[in-house]
């Protein structure tokens, strides 16, 4: 078992599950959190992630299969996906691939699910196309505001980590998103993004 990534929420190991290459995601106890709060958060997210993956698979989202869940230990065994994180791709390619990200996010929202952690490190470009990861913060919802929060987070990530390409990447994302959700709904949600930004501190959104 090899540690591949010490994430914020979980440690990610490469291992095997019944002979298959597998990812083991362990939500380890966080010493800085009060125990009861810590258990509540880790258990909730582990179960939710497994449930959501099952659900989004039903409408064709490409995400790793769940092999096994141990909710007591807060562990999930997931299918191993070979590829590269979108965050680490060359800038030009990120701009292009944002259209596909937009399509995936559009499909999730169309089916009433917000992802909750849309960053460029939660997408892997594999040989079989773009794969979305990490449903630990996802939620079932039909509120426009929740979909807009997803978009705002992604915009924030582009604005900070990919500042040089933010304009192109955002336009490309919206193009893909719109192709799934249509003009009217997209416009409503994008407007809501502006509303959320205005709620922020010292916001000066035009």
């Amino acid at each position: 078992m090899k540690l591949v990534k010490k994430g914020a929420e979980a440690d990610i190991y490469v291992t095997t599950w019944n002979g298959q290459n597998s990812i083991l995601k362990i939500r380890k106890k966080k010493d800085y959190r009060v125990n009861s709060l810590d258990i509540r958060i880790r258990t909730l997210r582990t179960i939710r992630e497994a449930k959501m993956i099952y659900e989004v698979k039903s409408f064709g989202i490409s995400t790793p299969i769940v092999y096994f869940v141990d909710e007591k230990k807060c562990e999930i065994y997931l299918q191993f996906i070979k590829g590269k994180l979108v965050r680490d791709l060359p800038m030009k390619q990120i701009v292009k691939i944002c259209t596909d990200i937009g399509k995936i996010v559009g499909t999730l929202h169309k089916n009433g699910i917000m992802h909750g952690d849309l960053t460029t490190s939660n997408f892997i470009l594999s040989q079989r196309g773009l794969v979305i990861l990490d449903f630990g913060l996802s939620q079932k919802t039909d509120a426009i505001d929740d979909y807009a929060i997803d978009l705002r987070l992604f915009k924030e990530v582009l604005n900070s980590a990919h500042a040089q390409i933010v304009v192109g990447a955002w336009a490309s994302f919206i193009q893909g998103y719109q192709s799934i959700l249509g003009n009217t709904l997209t416009e409503r949600i994008v407007n809501q993004v502006l509303v959320i930004e205005k709620r922020g501190r010292y916001a000066n959104v035009v």
């Binding site: 990534k5 010490k6 009060v34 509540r40 909750g116 960053t119 604005n159 980590a161």
Partner: protein
């Protein structure tokens, strides 16, 4: 090079003189007067600005006296132009403008939040940190990338300082309430469940505020404990996410709430897990002070001249991520 900095964004009126030699800074004096609203009440902008106006000359004189500097010796004057409360900002700006025009000294309007970060860097020696800025005006996670401080996460509604102050005022304490809440929290270990809202790298405190008000009748100590644990764990998680995402090897905490020991505990344990150096601004300079304003002016003066008097406005809403950093 000698710079005078004037801070008056909220409850603090402060003047400080900082000397810059090469890249090193030395604080010669930093004098403050803090407006204290009556118990259970928040800052009244008009009352705070009156307080600042009444104390400005005394603070300035003392600052000059302590540093042994004459106004004529000053190379530049900087003032906090925002973000902050309009009436308060204007007092600092008026003082700066008067000195600048009478003594013919270059004047620099600077961003208050940027001051927290750069002073924190100067005092701790952090080089390329992820920054957590926590105060009454801000709750932001930032990192520097191509000429600007970029926001990796922030609060979606109120700040952590407002959260603590509003709970404190609700319980009848005097603002700022952070230290009182910290003290009460340290007397309890009983955790009552409260809403924990992390959205990606962002946090939201408004639900936590209402829920905490509801549990105060069950005991103020356990309420304060549960509030701190929940709010700080949320910020800890958001920070940890940003650390993992950016791969930064340093974390710097600045702003008034940086003085809270429990928050420092949480963050240093996160840093240990990610093999990352942990810096926290010294308590004396974590909160609002003239030094942070003076230091930004000095840094800017190495790259650009002062502004004309007709451009010395104040900007109540002036987001940090819109400021271009040239030095």
């Amino acid at each position: 090079m000698l710079g005078l900095g004037i801070e008056s964004t909220a409850h603090t009126f402060s003047c400080a003189i900082v000397e810059k030699k090469g890249k090193q800074g030395k604080i010669l004096s930093d004098v403050r007067k803090i407006y204290r609203p009556p118990e259970g009440e928040g800052i009244h902008p008009r009352e705070a600005s009156r307080h600042h106006a009444e104390h400005s000359s005394e603070v300035l004189s003392e600052c000059l006296r302590k540093s042994n500097v004459k106004i004529d010796d000053l190379d530049i004057i900087s003032y906090a132009a925002g973000p902050g409360l309009g009436p308060c900002l204007r007092i600092g700006a008026v003082v700066a403008r008067s000195l600048s025009s009478y003594y013919d000294i270059p004047i620099y309007p600077v961003n208050h939040a940027l001051g927290h970060i750069e002073l924190g860097k100067m005092l701790t020696g952090a080089k390329d940190p992820l920054v957590l800025l926590v105060s009454g005006g801000h709750t932001m996670i930032l990192a520097f990338l191509s000429k600007k401080w970029r926001v990796f996460g922030e609060t979606l509604d109120i700040t952590v300082g407002q959260l603590l102050d509003q709970i404190g005022r609700h319980a009848g304490f005097a603002s700022p309430c952070g230290p009182k809440i910290e003290e009460l929290a340290s007397k309890s270990i009983e955790y009552l469940p409260l809403p924990y809202v992390v959205k990606g790298n962002d946090v939201s405190f408004s639900g936590l505020l209402s829920a905490t008000k509801r549990i105060i009748p069950k005991g103020i100590e356990s309420a304060c404990f549960s509030l701190q644990e929940t709010a700080f764990s949320m910020m800890g998680e958001a920070t940890e996410r940003a650390l993992a995402f950016t791969g930064k090897k340093e974390l710097l905490v600045v702003g008034g709430v940086a003085a809270n020991k429990r928050l420092s505990n949480i963050l240093s344990s996160i840093c240990a897990r990610h093999h990352c150096k942990f810096f926290v601004a010294p308590k004396e300079y974590a909160g609002d002070c003239g030094s942070q304003i003076s230091w930004i002016g000095l840094l800017e003066s190495s790259k650009k001249p002062g502004v004309n008097l007709e451009n010395t406005f104040v900007k109540q809403s002036w987001r940090l991520d819109t400021v271009e950093v040239l030095y």
